[in-house]
């Protein structure tokens, strides 16, 4: 009990006093996770649309691949990103291993399939009659895609939330490709793992509160946006 109480009070002290290390770790986490999610959105939403709206050879295979990719264990993604970025690996010469860029890449790998699959699903759920009505209005391809996306925005926001949730919670891949270097590649989850293993529960508590707050705030904001669109 004593352990929990002292841990919690110390955690609050660190947060309130804006502990330098904790601040850096939080800031890096935000930058990395948001960037990874943005990249996954920019690639994943159009790909999900393509899978939902275009019929081409290999489409079924790609859908299955994206769906299977949702279950990809982050450590496996971490392994492959590490191999590619390893000094003697195919992309070793750019020296990205153990940099925040490597974490972003690994997080894109784990969140991209989620955003593709859920975008695809959101568009699939639209009423075919509504698509027919839209088509009858004579839209350009771009207009057609845009208005369908607008109709599916509820599901698209859910896709982005799921992707962001995944990268925020993910630890295995970030640990592997980032190396958890203080002031460089240490993010909230990897820092927590380390602090717990060292028995520094106060720091771990502080990190966990921040992580939860971020996850909660982002989910809250996106849900608020989503609901406002629906209720009006």
């Amino acid at each position: 009990m004593e352990l929990i109480v002292s841990g919690l009070s110390e955690a609050f002290r660190m947060i309130i006093e804006l502990d330098r290390d904790i601040f850096d770790i939080t800031w890096l986490t935000l930058r990395v996770c948001i960037l990874a999610t943005l990249i996954s959105m920019i690639i994943g939403i159009p790909l999900g649309m393509l899978l939902a709206l275009k019929h081409f050879i290999g489409r079924r295979f790609l859908i299955v691949l994206a769906q299977a990719g949702m279950g990809l264990p982050p450590v496996v993604a971490g392994l492959w990103v590490t191999i590619f970025l390893w000094r003697s690996g195919p992309l070793g010469s750019i020296q990205w291993l153990f940099t925040p860029t490597a974490i972003v890449i690994a997080q894109v790998v784990v969140s991209l399939p989620i955003i593709i699959s859920l975008t695809y699903a959101a568009l699939q759920r639209l009423d075919p009659q509504l698509k027919k009505q839209l088509k009858a209005l004579g839209p350009t391809r771009l207009q057609y895609g845009w208005f369908l996306l607008r109709e599916a925005r509820f599901g698209i926001v859910a896709a982005v939330m799921a992707g962001l949730g995944r990268v925020l919670a993910e630890v295995g891949a970030a640990q592997m490709v980032g190396g958890n270097l203080l002031g460089d590649t240490r993010i909230l989850t990897t820092a927590m793992v380390m602090e717990v293993s060292r028995g520094n529960f106060d720091v771990a508590f502080a990190l966990s509160f921040i992580l939860m707050t971020i996850a909660f705030l982002i989910t809250f904001l996106l849900t608020y946006f989503q609901q406002r669109q629906v209720i009006r």
Partner: protein, 250 residues
């Protein structure tokens, strides 16, 4: 003058022949009803006429142009409009729903607003302009869909059972309004229904479709006075129903 013509059209799905039309032409300003029992192929025919579904084989000619059904030019779509059985509501306000087609068409904002208000007023839903489309009743939503179609000022208007999901009083008043608009504008209207009373109220010409084939076509009066052997049982059932009703009912 012919606006739209089908020749030697067939439509198959999974090797099943669903529709076969040797010839069907619509003159500019025609109001033609397509009637037939459920599953006869009415919607299929309408979708092919509206160029929303390519036929398996055959030729479509619109305003003298031979159409490639797999590659409909946008400019051609902008000359037609469609309304379906279940009103299609986009997740936006009533105003935006009606403006959508005009926006897609690239009509300038001022004119867009003016046309939307004109047609919202015409279909008596102007007071719902800022309401979200999801909050409308079935009748109001179908008014919105008709407003969206008419705001486009189409040359041809395709309607697939636009009233069949509505209750009788709503249906009657909306049918009356629609007919008066069709009379005053020179729009070619294709109206699908399984209800002879609706067809009689809406159109001067009629095509009877049964089992994927046009059994009989011509002026509504002529067809009803001399139905062909195959069309007779279907039309006769309607006549009996009508006789049972007050003959003054329209």
């Amino acid at each position: 003058m012919t606006l739209l013509q089908l020749e030697a059209i067939s439509y198959q799905k999974q090797n099943k022949m669903i529709l076969q039309v040797d010839e069907l032409s619509l003159k500019r300003g025609d109001h033609i009803g397509i009637i037939g029992p459920n599953g006869a192929g009415k919607s299929t025919l309408l979708n092919i006429l509206a160029m929303l579904e390519p036929p398996t084989s055959g030729t479509i000619t619109f305003d003298g142009m031979k159409i490639n059904p797999n590659k409909i030019p946008i400019s051609l779509r902008h000359r037609t409009a469609s309304v379906f059985q279940h009103s299609q509501r986009f997740d936006m306000t009533v105003f935006q729903n009606v403006a959508l087609g005009l926006k897609i068409k690239g009509i300038a904002k001022n004119e867009r607003e003016q046309r939307v208000h004109e047609w919202l007023t015409r279909f008596r839903i102007d007071h719902l302009s800022n309401e979200h489309a999801y909050n409308l009743s079935g009748g109001e939503a179908q008014r919105m869909n008709l407003a969206r179609a008419f705001a486009l000022e189409p040359e041809a208007l395709f309607m697939d059972e636009p009233f069949s999901a509505l209750d009788a009083p709503t249906k009657a008043s909306l049918m009356y309004e629609l007919k008066s608009i069709l009379r005053e504008r020179d729009i070619t209207a294709i109206f699908v229904s399984h209800d002879l009373l609706e067809i009689e109220a809406m159109s001067e010409k009629l095509a009877v479709i049964i089992d994927g084939r046009i059994i009989q076509k011509g002026n509504v009066r002529d067809v009803l006075n001399a139905p062909s052997d195959i069309a007779a049982p279907f039309l006769h059932a309607w006549n009996q129903l009508k006789q049972g009703l007050d003959p003054g009912v329209q």
